[in-house]
Amino acid sequence: MPSKQDNKLKLLWLQGVTCNGNTHSFLNLQNIEQLLNKFEILYIPAFSTNYTIDKIVKCSLDCDILIFEGAYDPFMKRAGVNLKELLFHYMKDSKQIIALGSCASFGGVFKESAPDRITGLLFNENTLTTTFLDYKDKIINLSGCPIHPEWLAYVLNMLLKNINIELDDLYRPIELYSTLAHHGCTRNEYFEWKIDAKKFGLKEGCLFYKQGCRAPMTHSSCNKILWNDESSKTRVGTPCFGCTEPDFPRDNLFQTKTNMSIPQDIPVGVPKRSYLTMAGIAKTFHIKRLEGKLIDYKTDS
């Protein structure tokens, strides 16, 4: 009689050109042990698992779920074996392949060191590549630099439950990437009334007009599923850098690109004319409550 272990989905985690950021982000998952116990873990680079990398690169095993973290460099080797060979072997029989993080999804930061060669697993920025095209129907992109641990947990749980995961045009799960990073931002009221942050380091003001915030142009759930169960970039006054999108990292990340003071990029799907009309009118009104400090500490704490 097969043991319970035999029925578990076999999970393998391989790395390309990476900083391990997705690994460390995933390790923040509160019920990580519970979740991983539902799988037969062949290999996760962060801690010792059933097999060593020496065994994995012999390509004598197969896996059901392949997680690939990092950008794809055709010249790269893992433990002396070509990454390409490794990937082809494990992709062949896998049920699902997860390109984990923006490097694996689109090329990300590490693409920039050799833009002609380094890509994501299936995409080079927003264009499909050919190397692993045969496996495109098995690939899910989980973009983000890094991914939120709950995003990976969601995908793994969906696979456990055997529920189909609906994807967007960039192969990302729509349940995670249909909203914008802007959704749920605590600075939304300042966006509505077009009140920009006067400088960094303030609770007050929207970071979209001057400080480079990409949240209204970025598909993610960062302000919905909070980071570390706690916060998000925009909530602590850091602009969103659009790290879930294929063009990450853009240039001049702390500055909004404007044409004659008009933001070059505006919220996804909003016609510029409508945006400018609305913005011009909203800007006209002076809402005293929103123009001053939210809290004026009378005495030093």
């Binding site: 900083c19 391990n20 950021g21 982000s25 801690f47 060593t52 630099c145 380091g201």
Partner: protein, 432 residues
């Protein structure tokens, strides 16, 4: 006989080539095979973009990179003649989140690396619970997220201060995460109160404990690690912080340091390509990291351990364990007296007008992390990163061994692999 060992469960991949003579390591070389080219990526970018790019050097100590970048840019402003000082609030919060990252790192190293690795050298029973370390680390990450928005890969430190504008609610939240961590450390790791642990006088006191730490301590002794893994018994601390002292320590004597004496040379790795370079101070190799930092402040118990066991693998590991406790305690003090009404940021001239050079040095979990920038009208001309692992885990010729090479000499290969990990290797940082 030459053998090659690939190392996993470190940050990235490394391999050690051992030359074995009479069953013991006679010589070893280390290679880091994966290059990523962050310094090149940075060239030509707006200097502020480095605040987003350099944390991506490393998933486990990216926050230290963020601080090094911030300090380097601030230094560049100062070198151009811009006079400013950071608010006390922003300094304390930066220091707090940096410490939390170090604690996060140490917990992972303890449970994901040290415990499983020492099990290979002892017949003592060692519980295997790597994810216990991840749980403790996740609490430290939450404390960072209170101010930094997220961990990993926050960019909340910027030249002049920090982007957040916390309320007392945030400070209290951060405090409660530290308290939760202390609770975890006491209950799950130490088996005694933190205060009692920090005031321990002798190693004998470990005997009375029955906890993860005492299991580790006994295993280290059973593997004879108090008599193995010695390096030069000289230490280097370069980052300016209030939890340590920038200095070099020869045995126990503390001397001042100057970053101008740091140099970098090519690695000696004849058997495999490596992208790492060795870092030196005044042309000598120094050990960096927790043991170095705890020696620099003469932390009583670490000094005692050192008196008995010098810079053995045992001392190196135990210094780290004590550093967790010391830093937890220190971080609470940091949060205790933050003036919430102070400015989060001091405005600096537009980065477009910045033409200068600067250096930013931070004590990352493994030791000094150094970023050097050359900026012309706000654009990066040159960016150089030197990481702590380059000090500890260089690969040199037999005539001038690096700390890790020296520490593995004359041990068995099995022991050497453990000793290697006592330095806590960060491959991704090393081959930034």
């Amino acid at each position: 006989m030459i053998t090659k060992q690939i190392l996993e469960n470190i940050e990235g991949e490394a391999s050690v080539h051992f030359k074995i003579k009479d069953g013991l390591v006679d010589f070893s070389t280390i290679s880091f095979p994966h290059f990523r080219g962050i310094e090149t990526i940075l060239e030509g970018k707006n200097i502020l973009d480095a605040l987003v790019i350099t944390p991506r050097v490393c998933g486990i100590c990216g926050h230290a990179h963020l601080m090094a970048t911030t300090r380097a840019i601030e230094d560049a402003y100062k070198n151009m003649g811009v006079d400013f000082s950071l608010s006390d609030k922003s300094k304390k919060i930066r220091e707090f989140t940096l410490i939390m990252e170090t604690i996060q790192n140490h917990f992972k190293w303890l449970y994901m690396v040290m415990m499983p690795e020492i099990a290979k050298l002892t017949t003592n029973e060692i519980p295997y619970k790597p994810l216990k370390g991840a749980f403790a680390s996740s609490i430290a990450s939450k404390a960072i997220a209170v101010f930094g928005g997220q961990w990993p890969h926050s960019s909340y430190m910027i030249p002049g201060g920090i982007t957040c504008d916390p309320t007392n609610i945030d400070i209290i939240k951060a405090q409660s995460y530290v308290e939760e961590l202390i609770e975890f450390f006491q209950k799950e790791s130490l088996g005694i109160e933190l205060e009692k642990f920090l005031s321990m006088q002798t190693c004998k006191e470990f005997n009375e404990l029955d906890s993860d730490i005492s299991i580790l301590e006994r295993a280290l002794i059973s593997a004879d690690m108090q008599n193995k893994g010695f390096a030069y018994d000289r230490f280097l601390i370069m980052g300016e912080h209030n939890f340590t002292k920038a200095s070099k320590v020869n045995h126990t004597r503390v001397f001042s340091v100057d970053s101008k004496y740091i140099s970098v040379v090519n690695s000696y790795s004849p058997r495999e390509i490596t992208y790492a370079k060795n870092a030196l101070y005044k042309d000598d190799y120094y050990e960096t990291g927790s043991l170095a930092r705890m020696m620099s402040i003469s932390f009583p118990m670490v000094r005692n351990i050192h008196r008995r066991y010098k810079d053995s693998a045992y001392s190196r590991v135990m210094a780290r364990v004590f550093e967790i406790g010391y830093l937890l305690n220190h971080s609470l003090k940091l949060l205790d007296n933050i003036s919430i009404s102070e400015d989060s940021i001091i405005s600096l001239p537009d980065v477009k007008n910045l033409t200068s050079t600067g250096i930013g040095i931070v004590e990352a979990p493994r030791g000094p992390l150094i970023h050097k920038v050359e900026v012309e009208q706000g654009i990066i001309k040159n960016y150089t990163i030197i990481t702590p692992t380059q000090f500890n885990i260089g690969s040199s010729t037999p005539t001038k061994l690096t700390p890790v090479q020296l520490s593995m000499k004359a041990t068995t290969q099995k022991e050497a692999l453990f000793i290697f990990r006592t330095f806590d290797v960060c491959s991704v940082c090393t081959t930034h």
